[in-house]
């Protein structure tokens, strides 16, 4: 297992009262928990992944997410069981949408 921490600048988004969870820690999948963070212009991400040595890929995927979504003011925690970058991107967008109330 590898633990990774990232912080990216991101446009501030709405701050709801309740955290959101999506995904399951199953093979090729991951779970993402979105909670309020302490800095409105910053997206903090804490990752635990079963696959070692993919820090550069994670940095690229999370950086792209923070740049393209209003994820400022969130603290995101991820438990990963070998999800591919495409799955990670989709789940991040889904988790943020559920957190901000954009999805049912």
């Amino acid at each position: 297992m590898e633990t990774l921490e990232f912080r990216f600048d991101s446009k501030p988004g709405v701050r709801p009262d309740h955290p959101a969870l999506c995904g399951v820690v199953g093979s090729g999948n991951l779970e993402i928990l979105v909670k309020p963070g302490d800095q409105p212009g910053c997206c903090q991400v804490h990752i635990k992944t079963s696959a070692r040595g993919f820090g550069t890929t994670w940095r690229a995927v999370i950086g792209d997410f923070a740049a393209s979504h209003p994820a400022g003011g969130t603290a995101i925690a991820i438990n990963d069981m070998g999800a591919t970058p495409a799955v990670v991107s989709l789940r991040l967008a889904q988790a943020l949408a559920e957190y901000q109330g954009g999805a049912r």
Binding site: M1, P19, L21, V24, V25, G26, N29, E31, L33, K35, K48, T49, S50, A77, N79, D80, M81
Partner: protein, 300 residues
């Protein structure tokens, strides 16, 4: 109860959280120890494995047709729904709270291969605590209903737990047994049981077989709404009986008779023929309603 594919929301494919949402009255569910408030397993962390925030089980309370209900739902996609220390403690805590608060029922959405082997003794103890807690809830008059229809079925210790519940509602996709097919093949050899023969596995452990044998109170379609209406219908007609030695003895006798009648058979097909099914080979192809009609027509 035939459903077109577009209207069907598969129980088998749903996550634990989606099952709860489809089972209870819309918007009625409140989770106890939600992911942001609970801890992943410390045992898995020691083994350098990622945990899940909810440790693979969702517990809470809500309503079913307006009746107050407690729910525990195992997530089969996380480590095969296996029971670790925190996972087990959450279920035990819910069942103990049921003794205090007396909801109309505890619905136990089982999807598990049994003990989480990574947690060894802690997992075994957790399972035995769940067994005791199920019996305590039932003794307090609270029915505990097992719903089995996930990809992991109910095996190992969770197979025993399922049978300790007041009743089991199962789908054709659901499975129920003690040792899993792979375990039997590993221990006793492929001649004893071929775990790769999926059809055989279902003829021996699957929902239709369990229903025909009388192990499960109800057979329902693989559909969230079917489990919901099945649970509602079952609870409407059920009063939890007080535990008694006489009923245990009667049950033991039934099991003895069953062992004497079927112990030598190798396949569900032989058992169904002995039960009086005229065309046993047709059973795997029957839909739910036809199978229920077939069972109702069997000699008792």
């Amino acid at each position: 109860m035939s459903l077109s594919l577009t209207n069907r929301h598969s129980w088998f494919e749903a996550t634990a959280r989606a099952r709860i949402n489809g089972l209870l009255d819309a918007g009625s569910f409140s989770e106890i120890l939600p992911p942001a408030a609970s801890q992943p397993s410390p045992h898995l962390a020691q083994l350098d494995l990622p945990g899940a925030f909810d440790d693979g089980v969702v517990i809470g309370y809500g309503r079913l047709e307006k009746k107050p209900i407690f729910v525990a739902a195992q997530e089969g996609q996380f480590m095969g729904g296996a029971v670790g220390e925190i996972h087990g403690a959450k279920i035990v805590g819910l069942l103990r709270r049921a003794v205090e608060e007396k909801p109309a029922a505890v619905l136990f959405l089982i999807d598990s291969g049994g003990v989480r082997l990574h947690e060894a003794n802690a997992g075994l103890i957790a399972i035995s605590e769940i067994m005791r807690a199920v019996l305590d809830a039932r003794a307090a008059g609270v029915p505990v209903i097992a719903l089995v229809g996930g990809s992991c079925g109910a095996f190992g210790g969770m197979g025993i737990v399922a049978k300790l519940c007041s009743a089991i509602i199962i789908s054709e996709e659901g499975r129920l047994a003690l040792s899993g097919p792979e375990v039997i093949e590993t221990v006793a050899g492929v001649e004893e049981f071929d775990a790769k023969d999926r059809a055989l596995v279902w003829r021996v452990t699957g929902g239709k077989h369990r229903y025909l044998m009388g192990d499960c109170a109800m057979l329902v379609d693989d559909d969230l709404a079917a489990f919901r209406s099945g649970a509602t219908e079952f609870l409407a007609g059920w009063a939890e009986p007080a535990p008694s030695l006489a009923s245990l003895r009667a049950r033991q006798q039934v099991l003895k008779n069953r062992l004497a009648a079927y112990a030598t058979y190798r396949d569900g097909l032989q058992v169904w023929a002995a039960l009086g099914v005229a065309e046993p080979e047709s059973v795997p192809l029957l839909d739910r309603d036809s199978l229920v009609a077939l069972k109702e027509g069997l000699p008792t």
